[in-house]
Symmetry: C2
Subunit: 147 residues, 2 copies
DNA sequence: ACCTGTTATGATACGTTATATCATATCTAT
DNA sequence: ATAGATATGATATAACGTATCATAACAGGT
């Protein structure tokens, strides 16, 4: 759906402006509906319900912008995305991914980050981005299944 | 062709171990020529020099097998691969990736792993695979460039 | 209001990464 | 030898991501 805003100028003339359709908001909404990883193309599929003409670059632009602002996390080991739960971290989160149910949790783990800093301190590597992802089984899946 | 190696133990028992296929060896050789990340299709390109008919699944099978045996690391954040330097780790390595020169280093960091265990201990998540990748700038690139 | 440079969006096409599938070949055990 | 399991070859296609160019919106100076 595309909505228009009518601008009326001093001289009485009018002008239609396409409202910047806020894909960012809609992409984020799709991710928030999910407790697990969602691929860019799954997002695309959902958004096509409203606008069949939306193309991959639109989704990727939104995802990248949201990721830069910390509102979504990219799951590097799955090529997928998840909405941030606790906004605005001081540092990179640890993400746990349940390979059974797909649920993703994020943890603030200063001790992990500081242990990583120790390494980089010793080696001279200057880190600008940290990817920390754990695969395994969440507690509910472990309890639920006989293993 | 599959060849086997027979191990004979003190007690006289024997064990057969599958020997790596030719492709495994060749894929590994390509990765070892490089100090940085190599994509599966770059490997494919190099192997096509010897056998123009080699197809993607062959390369991916070799890469997956090598990764399972710890001989290569998959760089999840780059969709690429790198040869292990120190074989047979006790636990997942920390991989540092220089975004300038592409060089990848691997570190054993028990403190990082144990900090991660603390999290999983508290939350009940059982982790079977850890992905820990640092992006940034290595010390030589930092020294080399005016920043 | 007009020009101008910058940034965002739309649209098309294509590039890159990875796997499903099925056929064939090889090994192991009996 | 034959059967079951495993590995390999080959084709096709799925899934993920981006380059590029055109158009539109915006902000600042005049």
């Amino acid at each position: 759906m595309i909505r228009y805003i009518i601008s009326i100028y001093h001289d009485g003339s009018m002008d239609k402006h396409k409202q910047p359709s806020d894909w960012h908001t809609k992409v984020l909404a799709v991710l928030r509906k999910n407790s697990g990883a969602v691929s860019a193309y799954e997002v695309l599929g959902e958004l096509r319900v409203f606008n069949p003409k939306i193309a991959p670059p639109t989704v990727y632009r939104a995802l990248n912008a949201l990721a830069e602002r910390g509102e979504v996390h990219r799951l590097e080991s799955m090529n997928a995305y998840v909405a941030s739960r606790s906004l605005k971290h001081q540092h990179a989160p640890v993400l746990s991914i349940c390979d059974d149910c797909g649920r993703v949790e994020e943890y603030l783990a200063p001790q992990v980050i500081s242990a990583l800093s120790d390494i980089t301190g010793q080696t001279g590597f200057t880190s600008t981005r940290q990817v920390i992802e754990l695969h395994g089984r969440c507690i509910s899946c472990r309890d639920r299944v006989t293993s």
